[in-house]
């Protein structure tokens, strides 16, 4: 999905930014409330999304492979379990790959 498009060029950008660090273009009072995000350090949401959708995807693909004519007829002739399962697996892989390729530490220091 759009996540794929976003993580692609973003990776290149992180390399470019590292060389240009220090010249932060943002003036003004942008300091945040000083609590830090313990939430984010605790776990990476992208893994949670990837694992949950991945499990859903596997279950649906298996269920879809077992679907007989009755299930097909109910869903207007579409192998909907199979296709939904494949779609979920693609999204899951994108999130797991994104989380793997750009771990949290890099992601947070890179933007500002």
């Amino acid at each position: 999905m759009s996540e794929a498009a976003r993580s692609g060029p973003a990776r290149k950008e992180s390399a470019r930014n590292e060389s240009a660090q220090g010249e932060s273009a943002h003036g003004g009072p942008q300091d945040t409330v000083q609590t830090g995000s313990r939430m984010q350090r605790l776990f990476d949401l992208r893994y949670v999304i990837g694992v949950l959708l991945g499990i859903y995807g596997i279950v649906l693909v298996v269920r879809g492979a077992l679907d007989g004519p009755q299930q097909l007829a109910q869903a207007a002739g579409t192998a909907i379990n199979l296709w939904t399962g494949i779609g979920l697996l693609v999204v899951a892989v994108v999130f797991l790959a994104w989380a793997r390729l750009r771990p949290l530490g890099i992601d947070t220091t890179e933007e500002e």
Partner: protein, 553 residues
Amino acid sequence: MLRLNPGWLDYTLLALYFVVVLGIGVVARRAVGTSADFLLAGRALPAWVTGLAFVAANLGATEIIGMAANGAEYGVATVHYYWIGAVPAMVFLGIVMMPFYYRSKVRSVPEFLRLRFGNGTHVLNAVVFAVASVLIAGVNLYALAIVLNALLGLPQIWGIVLSAAVVLVYIGFGGLGSAIYGEVLQFFVILAGLIPLAIVAVRHVGGFHALGEKVTQSALGPEGLHAWQGTGIGSVTNPIGANWISIVLGLGFVLSFGYWTTNFAEIQRALSAKDRSASQRTPLIAAFPKLFIPAVTIIPGLVALVAIPNFGNESSGGLEYNDAIPALMGQLLPEGVLGIAITGLFASFMAGVAANVSSLNTVVTYDLLQPYLAKGRSDRYYLTAGRWVTVAGVVIAIFTALLASSFNNIMTYLQSLFGIFNAPIFATFILGMFWKRTTGWGGFSGLFTGVIAGTLVFVLAEAGVVDFGSGIAVSFYQAGAAFLVDVVVTVTVSLATARPEPERLAGIVYGVPGADGVVPTLRQPRERVWYRKPVLLGSIALVITVVLNILFA
């Protein structure tokens, strides 16, 4: 009677979601050490998380059940709630208003009013918001109870109590952090259920072309396929029952700007972003899914109308409009994907409740307890208070849910609330942010009379004294009345009272430098990458909006 027949696999998929969400709550509890952790989620989240949470916080009962019902009742013109009634306001929020909110370092929307106008306006807005949140949380609970009733045959009262308990556990533990994480997760699960449903629904009636022909022959008629045809002034024939001026001004300007730019349940997501640029991008990222969500809500509504006999005729024993999505799920989805769709519905309703309760506890704790009712206590006190407000909010929402069950169309009910509460607030904010002369008394009296005016129009219409044509038109007019009265009263009273002291305006009003010497303007953050430039993102969203409106005119 509507009844789904899920298999064991469907229940397993649903149970897995509950485990993950409750797990997030329990783990997130370890992240909560202070009241700021619980109520603000630390202001450190990336824009994609806050952006998806921003759109998901609104993806509760209003979107799924209500918009499918509107799709069946009003046809394609329901897109106005998205393309006219949401996206332009979201872009405006991201580019114009978010910089002011973020720079002022407020913890809530009412707190901005306190800085700008003083205590009167602040208390009024905080109390009104708190009341509105529990009402809306209740509407979401009620919608969830309908689904539970259909799914398990569970009595509505038990559905309401059970789902309230789950929400209570996961936000009672983790606060805003787990609410936001839950919302992002929910965003994906709801789409994983609704996209297959829409695809199968269209194939069920023989494709888009056949769907169009059947809608033309249905009660909606040919204009049920058009967003703008038949909305001429004095000759409204479109099923939406409102002319284009009341759509553009009532829904598009007043209602939508009031909701999207000042509703704290939404702004709270953007305020929890890690920097100003990310906070600006929050509503802009949210605008893109918002543009395409009508495809998965309106299409099932239209299919339900043409494919289910007697649909929408409750009096003659047919299903009601709100049943569109649950009914199609039961009819068309086989075991497996049915479980995902049910999970998506659950998830969306719970997130709708969670969004309102997690903003309610912030407002009550930081805007009512800390400044007025229980000043100068330890942070521990406010953290505990935040938790108890969460409990109280959920309990009151249960009673609101019972109240909402007496209304026929959830969406109309919600729009009435938005019209009364949100329309005047937008006028007050815009005047406060951009007009230095606006005084504390001006802001207060404008907001107060605006709420009264909106309520008055609503009551008069309910009592049958005035007739605006349809329930939707009523909400447009009442929002318009509230907005106009607010602007006129604010300006008049401001000019009649003494100029506000400059310190009160410092750093929060356009062109008035703050204590740090920075002048608030509309200059946008300089970003190197195109997808981080707020103006570019906003422009792309608006161009797509225009194109879609032309395509579906």
